[in-house]
């Protein structure tokens, strides 16, 4: 099975910009949303769905599909817009985001939305579930890969490190943990709250093969993922450095934009900046 789009990285970059526009419009209309996270992860999500993940458009539950777990479930707005951009989700549904009974609630719910694998939102859950999926693949002789996208502030949750130890013990080289390293969490910068550094050394010490890349540059990110060693018995951890709110100058790097949405004046300015 292949990625149904297999786009060139430059085309992935264009998709990411379109995803960002959708995010801003959707959050503006909904009156709520995690704008900073949605924008920060857009290049990673575009790379996953338009290049890296192997899946079938018409069969979201195909047993051989690669699994993608959005452990940072608050970034689901970015994921919905990515799925809509890839025609995996009816774009009209974006107008129902966060409404009562909508198929698109504020955190991922697999019973409601196609291509959602796990119901996340509480932080520190995705990696252990990813360990279970990767272990199931090994025990079943399946060759699908399991990608888990965590935030970075999320890594303050101890459950991640339980899962990391288990992943190394079980030699899950089919597990790829991507840390969206934007350096910000709800209250402040991660290094001002509880510092994660040296994150790469921590991951290595827990038995991971560790790589670092630019999570806002699809070309670099795709190259890193496609160059990962295979069959070495080591789970992979990729620190993807990103800018929270990437793409809109007045949102970038601002802790206040974790929860904020653009107002009537900000929306057109943001859209102007996102013109390719």
């Amino acid at each position: 099975m292949n990625n149904p789009f297999s786009l060139h990285p430059s085309e992935v970059t264009e998709k990411a910009q379109e995803i960002r526009k959708k995010v801003l419009n959707m959050n503006y209309k909904a009156g709520q949303g995690h704008t900073g996270a949605d924008l920060s992860e857009a290049d990673i999500l575009a790379s996953m769905y338009f290049r890296l993940l192997r899946y079938q458009i018409d069969d979201p539950n195909h047993p051989d599909r690669d699994r993608f777990i959005l452990s940072k479930g608050h970034g689901v707005g970015g994921l919905y817009c990515t799925l809509a951009q890839a025609n995996l989700l009816d774009e009209a549904l974006l107008d129902t985001y966060l409404q009562f009974g909508s198929q698109l609630p504020g955190h991922p719910v697999r019973q409601k939305t196609p291509f959602i694998e796990v119901n996340t939102g509480a932080l520190g859950h995705g990696l252990a579930v990813g360990v279970g999926l990767a272990l199931a693949a090994k025990k079943s002789g399946c060759d699908y890969r399991v990608y888990v996208l965590t935030g970075d502030g999320e890594l303050q949750e101890g459950s991640n490190w339980e899962a990391a130890m288990a992943a190394a013990q079980f030699q899950l080289d089919n597990l790829i943990w991507i840390a969206d390293r934007n350096g910000l969490q709800l209250a402040d910068f991660t290094n001002k709250v509880v510092d994660l550094e040296p994150l790469d050394k921590k991951m290595e010490a827990f038995g991971m093969w560790v790589g670092q890349t630019d999570g806002n540059d699809p070309a670099a990110f795709i190259d890193t993922i496609e160059s990962l060693p295979r069959g070495d018995g080591k789970p992979k951890a990729v620190i993807a450095k990103t800018t929270k709110g990437k793409g809109v100058s007045f949102i970038e790097g601002q802790p206040s934009w974790h929860h904020r949405i653009p107002n009537d004046e900000e929306l057109p300015k943001a859209m102007e900046e996102l013109k390719c």
């Binding site: 719910v109 119901n119 693949a137």
Partner: protein, 323 residues
């Protein structure tokens, strides 16, 4: 029926059920958090080492990994001590199992106060209460070896989350081989007219023994095994209470959130004019640690305590008329 001379550790029955399930091609895995001895899982491990996963002393990882393995196509069963499952891994149980609706069977071993004098860190007198707070999970508490086998076979075949409350003691056989578990139905072990005694898990055999003693005292107690907590037999409970006019609940669990609460809620909602006496651990208190049998005697959930309680309820009091 109560056969005291034949007792069995329910965990041995559980493990035997797992082995037989794999033999008939159930694609299952058992996960432990270093709890291999707690689960008495060695016979399964010896036969199917690839189907046993030990995540180490890491209960959150245990439950999350089980969810992932279930999403990857396995029937995943976790087996560890109930307190560490429901307390430490509470959010994983809620989100990764219940909310995600993953096909995981959570076995809470040594629930209640099985650990006795090891004290409250090791007690789970709120596990049913906690599980009742979550959506989309079935809840069972087997009362004897016969029922244990049937509950596990039902859970393995059911597609979705199940919690099974288990014990560490040897339980007498209460059911003959013709017994057929009906999820969502109460199990009337002894019909009676004067009082309904609703018991769960490790107190069911005590209630049966009490029923025999009470019979000699001229009191006809209806002994009801509430092993299927979700789905619950609301109509069956109403019918029994309407008949006897008195209800006593007995559980090695807090009196809130377990069988005592369930029966009280139904009686109140139906407007049944009936006293409900609840035996169990007090609301808002940790259990006083000590030898388990003394702990049980202290809160009157052993046969002697049940008899004493029933005599106090029935003495000089006329049965209420049912509306």
């Amino acid at each position: 029926m109560l056969t005291q001379d034949k007792t069995q550790d329910l965990r041995e029955v559980m493990v035997d059920t797992f082995i037989k399930a794999v033999e008939r091609d159930v694609n299952m895995v058992v996960l432990v958090s270093d709890s291999t001895s707690t689960a008495k899982i060695a016979p399964f491990k010896d036969r199917y080492p690839d189907r046993l996963v030990n995540v180490g002393i890491a209960e959150q990882s245990l439950v999350g990994t089980a969810a992932g393995m279930a999403l990857g196509g396995f029937v995943a069963v976790t087996t560890n001590a109930a307190p560490f499952l429901v307390h430490r891994a509470n959010e994983q149980v809620k989100n990764d199992i219940c909310y995600t609706n993953s096909n995981v069977k959570l076995v809470g071993l040594n629930a209640g106060v099985c650990y006795g004098a090891l004290a409250s860190t090791h007690h789970a007198i709120d596990d049913v209460s906690i599980m009742r707070g979550f959506g989309d999970i079935l809840i069972f508490a087997p009362s004897d070896p016969v029922e244990t086998e049937q509950i596990f076979n039902y859970a393995l075949a059911y597609e979705g989350p199940v919690y099974i409350r288990m014990d560490s003691a040897k339980f007498p056989v209460l059911h003959d081989k013709s017994y057929q578990l009906e999820p969502g139905k109460i199990d009337v072990l002894r019909p009676g007219q004067d009082i309904s005694i609703f018991a769960m898990g490790s107190t069911v055999y005590e209630a049966c023994a009490a029923g025999n003693i009470l019979n000699d005292e001229g009191i006809s107690a209806e002994i009801v095994n509430v092993s299927s907590i979700r789905p619950l037999d609301r109509e069956g409970i109403i019918k029994s209470v309407r008949k006897t006019g008195r209800a006593l609940t007995v559980e090695e669990h807090g009196i809130h959130g377990g069988v005592g609460s369930l029966v009280s809620e139904i009686v109140a909602e139906e407007g049944l004019c009936c006293r409900v006496k609840r035996l169990g651990f007090m609301e808002g208190k940790f259990a006083i640690p000590g030898p388990r049998d003394e702990m049980r005697a202290h809160i009157n959930i052993d046969a002697e305590g049940i008899v004493k309680t029933v005599l106090a309820i029935t003495k000089n009091k006329q049965r209420q008329r049912m509306p």
